[in-house]
Symmetry: D2
Subunit: 455 residues, 4 copies
């Protein structure tokens, strides 16, 4: 399984990479390039073909600096000191000793004095949503989620030398274990094994290395006596399978079939309860086969009524609700509503009358930031920019798009990454074009090719 090599693998510093990415015109390309860096030197094409969802993989880099800037023990300490971290809510104190897993969270705020005391006594620390406290983690995840088309989450784990914090277990997400400091001894087991048995992969991860394994693979990690370990696990693809999409699709298909197809509304046979059901399951009755055949026939016919795109929209709405809001680049900032130089001076408003003009060029702020979704007979625009860094702290954000504006919004979405002029929006009148552009601008969903000029 190991893709390790002996030569040092180089890469740009994260800070430099993020600055460079900020200049990439297309947010989807940004996402691809950041993911490329994450799994470098494995080519993404190979990764998704051979490894993703299939098997564990180790990327050994012999380069402790590779992930520098993503997170550190010093940042952990700063967060405890400056932010309001609460035991049990944002931070777990755990141990796994003599095959026993314990949680040691006291109540209340987690301050360094208490937290490091636990650590000194051999407890592991799990910071639950570092993206709420670290702008870099937030930025990285918010870019990666566009690659995955599924929420990207993270936990940070700090483990003292010679200890283990968690029992062997498996998760329901694709996991990228990024070693940031020290080392950790990992054992990963195949999901088919009923007993834990021998690991299929055993490795000591060092700073700069990456370990990937798919959901369902049991794993455990422990520290060697001579080194602590700090790693961040980036995860994605929770509840993102074909089955989960079918959970949206199938009930909707059935509802539609019952409305449109009289066969589905037809009454059951008068006496079906006398030969069907578990108490009749080993009965030798021809009617059983006939009944089952008709029922399964209808079940297959359901596919004719499956509202595929509407079901995808249900998944998409959930994804947009799960999403982190974007961390704006300086350019995005200055060309969007957030950078408008409107101010109040001496009670008088300055720079407020910046009307969109026909020739003003606009586009979505980022590709994945907003989406037209069906809402019964109506269509709504769902968006991520007003989400919170804290998971689901805000309700899903959306507003209805009037039928006469749907085409224009769709046009805008499809034109990305190109800027298009306000005049080119397919609306009935110039007034409508401008008013739609201003609405989307005010909501922070589009930006302009040049900062607006104020009169």
């Amino acid at each position: 399984h190991s893709l390790g090599r002996t030569k040092q693998v180089e890469g740009p510093a994260l800070h430099t990479l993020l600055t460079d990415l900020a200049k990439v015109h297309n947010s989807r390309e940004r996402a691809s390039r950041l993911f490329e860096w994450l799994i470098h030197p494995v080519p993404p094409q190979n990764f998704f073909r051979d490894i993703w969802e299939k098997k564990p993989a180790l990327i050994r880099r012999h380069n402790p600096e590779y992930y520098k800037g993503l997170f550190s023990t010093a940042e952990f300490d700063r967060i405890l000191r400056e932010d309001f971290v609460q035991f049990g809510v944002n931070l777990d104190v755990t141990s796994y000793r003599n095959s026993k897993r314990d949680t040691h969270n006291p109540p209340g705020r987690a301050l360094p004095f208490t937290v490091w005391d636990f650590y000194k006594k051999g407890c592991s620390l799990r910071l639950l949503n570092p993206q709420a406290f670290s702008i870099t983690v937030w930025n990285v995840l918010s870019i990666l989620q566009e690659k995955f088309g599924s929420m990207a989450g993270a936990n940070v784990y700090l483990t003292p030398p010679g200890t283990q914090g968690f029992a062997p277990h498996y998760d329901d997400i694709e996991a990228f274990i990024i070693q940031l400091e020290g080392k950790k001894h990992w054992r990963v087991y195949n999901p088919s094994q009923s007993e834990i048995g021998e690991p299929s992969l055993e490795v000591v991860l060092e700073a700069g290395d990456l370990l990937y394994f798919p959901r369902g693979f049991t794993h455990q990690g422990d520290c060697l006596p001579d080194a602590h370990s700090l790693h961040i696990t980036i995860s994605s693809y929770q509840k993102n399978s074909w089955g989960e999409l079918l959970q949206k699709l199938v009930p909707a298909a059935l509802e539609m079939a019952m409305e449109e197809d009289v066969e589905f509304r037809q009454g059951l046979p008068l006496d079906y309860l006398t030969y069907m059901g578990v108490q009749n399951s080993d009965k030798d009755d021809m009617r059983r086969a006939e009944f089952t055949g008709h029922l399964l026939g209808l079940m297959k016919k359901l596919a004719d009524y499956a509202p595929v795109d509407a079901a995808v929209d249900q998944k998409a709405k959930e994804f947009l609700h799960d999403c982190l809001p974007p961390v704006l680049t300086p350019e995005e900032q200055s060309s969007s509503v957030q950078g408008v130089p409107t101010r109040v001076e001496n009670g008088k408003v300055q720079n407020v009358t910046a009307h969109m003009k026909p020739q003003t060029k606009i586009r979505l702020l980022r590709d994945g930031i907003a989406r037209l979704c069906s809402e019964g007979d109506a269509v709504s625009l769902y968006y991520t920019v007003d989400n919170s860094r804290v998971y689901h702290k805000e309700e899903p954000k959306s507003f209805e798009i009037q039928p006469e504006h749907t085409d224009a919004v769709e046009f805008l979405i499809r034109s990305y990454p190109s800027f298009v002029s306000v005049a080119s929006l397919p609306c009935d009148s110039l007034e409508e074009k401008v008013s739609l552009a201003e609405l989307l601008f005010k909501r922070g969903l589009i930006h302009t090719s040049e900062p607006l000029v104020f009169s």
Copy 2:
């Protein structure tokens, strides 16, 4: 549509019929014979082939006595006088005048003085569950439900001459309108019509006549100036279509597929949100067809995992909960737990030690009275005998059957209508056979071929 003839159609008096039916050995045959009487002289085979769920039908009998004994205005008055009938709960006072439908229910108990005053002033009266107040209606419905394999309900309508009580509307049940007294002018309309238009059937129903129409057929009835009308509507097949069974089956199939078939657990394509969903629905992208094809393929594959009998059991459980409890015949009474002559005299119990013997012959009290249903991995016996005459007043009644008794209970159920000896039950020991038989006897689910003898 009319099946009316000019000659008088004869039939047994209801009282005589019920007495005769009480002697019919097989409860399912009882149900068939009662239904036969209901639609006589139309043969049931023809009815279910040509009319049921298909079109309205009139059975004209020229025999006002045909349904005598089922319900009457005098019985209505007796119920108001002796039972606690409440406006809005058991009785509705309505009118439909100048295209306006009104409900006139005052609060509180409905006493004859008030009710008949409304009636005199031209209001219609709807008694909502006559089976709770009339033993005959209860008896008839509890027998018919075994024919339908679906709850049989009823409402009674009393309308003063020259008035109408309800606006044109349609229901979601198969309706049997039984004219008991007076006459009513009916108009029934085809369901396809968007506007009400011309009736497809127009008729004046007279005492002894029957009007049937399927769910979805709009209808209205009004009284001629010269006669009041009393009718009872017997209904069945509410939510009893193939579609409703699929609503149980399909989610269960999907759950099973996701557990057993890795294809259903496989992640969605990374970028599916960029070409699927309503906003991409008119995109010309080959991946759309590929995605849809795979998804609908999985949807069809669902049929491979469909737990048909378990889904039928879910419907069956609901039906057993909906069921009226049986009205016991004198023979059923004397040969079941209800007729056991156990008494206490001077503080001493008489006739309690009636143990089942190996040669005691037993069978289910009635065919449809109990049913083995799957309950996850366990199996439970659901039953109707402790239900209430008031719809869903009692929770569903069931108890778990131990694995070692399942075969015996199934044997008992399948043996109906034959009596089988306790000794013949497929249990491990005679003790177990007796103990199972005694349990079922105590719960009122079985009766014996001869009344038990007490020591």
Copy 3:
């Protein structure tokens, strides 16, 4: 404590007594006479002066027939056979053996065969609300509640020879233990005792005897080896103390005081938290006494704002909701709405136009059957006639009385037991008088001195 004597105490048979009471003009007198019979030969005046709420008392009658007709084991059996009695809901099967109290309720309906089997095996049976199944118990309790001005409840206990069904305990009601059949050995303990110690009263109760004890008195009863026991406990005065009235009164008084008296709205001292509260409770600070003094002064001043009658009305509403509906006497039946001979014949209403006339004489059906209660600024008439025999099965019943009718309703209530003419009601017009009288008649709250005559 014992008031027992050796001579047989005679009394009328209950059936005769109830027939006689039905002729007593004033329902309150009926209640007194029934209570007199209950505790005969102790004069009620003495009972309430010396015993009630103070101490246990035994009335020994040497007359096993005294309470005959109230309830019996035969009636118990009939109820099990004919009514739908459910284990755990209406009937408890219990035992107290080796200081251990157990409940043996199986699920489902309680049929004689099962119940008497438990009894035979030494279990006690408690029938929880015999008034729902026995008209005599219902009648007796519904009369007694008028005496107590508080709900009268009952339980029936049947205990096999040589057993005990319940552990020693105390209740929160005044208890009248009426021995119906057999004998029971009772021990009653003073409430002050912390350990159970020696009973203050020990007695073997025989059929026809009565044992009374107040709430809070620990007690236990067991059967002698030679006799079973059937008794009914009649109870009253649950949550009917001055304290419970104050729970209604005091919050209302405070609300009123805060609205009307600026002293109650005045802010607390700026620094009161620095010297008051538990952490300062042993502080020697003059301000503590001053603060406490002012606060307790306000507390006493609350009495000036106490809406006493409105608080009593709150208790009264609860009582009227708790009440059993009356069992009408033949005379009450025929002179009230329930006896009106309105009928429908051949679809035509007979005897419905019975208008009240000015000279028609009316009064409340019974004294305690309805009551005017304040409802914020409005006044409502609460009543018991539509209550259920099952405790609180119905919502509280009331309707608002228009301001112009309050005097007339009050006049009617105060006039009881006298009949007054409709014309004498203090309403603005004869029309209003008649319409009010008809409303109250329709609701079953009044009856007429002579049955109404119909045109």
Copy 4:
């Protein structure tokens, strides 16, 4: 009412004042001095004697710089730009035109571009909890709440020239209107007036002026055509009256009386419902006076059972839950758990073994920061330091104090503002003293006279 003068009133800049206050040893004195500055030059003693809760008062200063640094339009703009302000949650857009009050909140985040556009069009802006966004406002309120012994809240109002944002109304708090920029024309009306009538105080408030009025005084403010207005309203004493304390006290007193005093448990008179209650309220019945007398006597007797300190504790708990957490001064920071220099370097913890020594001197971090409150039979320490800047975002914070530690915690609380040595705590052993001190230190409730020294 006016206390205005013509000479300029001077005062320290707020920034300087807060820096000075940070050096004041006793937090209660800090609070007094800040309040003094707020109402300067009116002496607090006079203010509380003559004005507080009694009448409106104007403090005219002719010094627009007086409140400088508290809040500004520029700060408002910064908050909109940098923080996540949401319409309807944190910010209201309002107008009052032609006697009609409107709210114009769009959904979503409030960005400057949108907000200032509303403002330009004549809408008023109300920032609902500036303390969540401005550290200075948070600091000022968190100090003042210790003066009031009741939550101190704030709203900021920005109004364009020539407009009015709110209809005349009154509030349930003591209001301090602090004019920050521009001017506002105010009219205040006496609470007794049923119609609004003439204002009892009419004034144009200018920057640096203060207007106070008690709860219940109707008021309205509008901008003159030539100037916008920015003011902050600081409020306190919501639900902090004697009546509100009685709402805690009286039910507790009644519960206690019913437990301890048999008079409260005594049954009500058998027939009280026949002479008490609204329907009997004008009855001339001697028993009415007797009943009422006894009842009101008991009501007054309640005072004997009033658990005054426990009721105060209930108010105190609510106050501690309402409180803002403190803004720590640099000295508080460095001498408390928040300043402990514990760090992790290269996976090794530095500076964690700082044990309290017997001679370490400690005290509460601030006077009002924690409080011992009764909790049934137990005693808990409630505290404010883990509260949120957002009202009630966190649950009330407390932990139980073991009986053997109650004296020591009480000693510590009472000793404030003095530091006491760990050795002087009244605990059973030195170990317990140290462990208690360490617990309180870890929770951030105490600080040390000198920063701890680490080994």
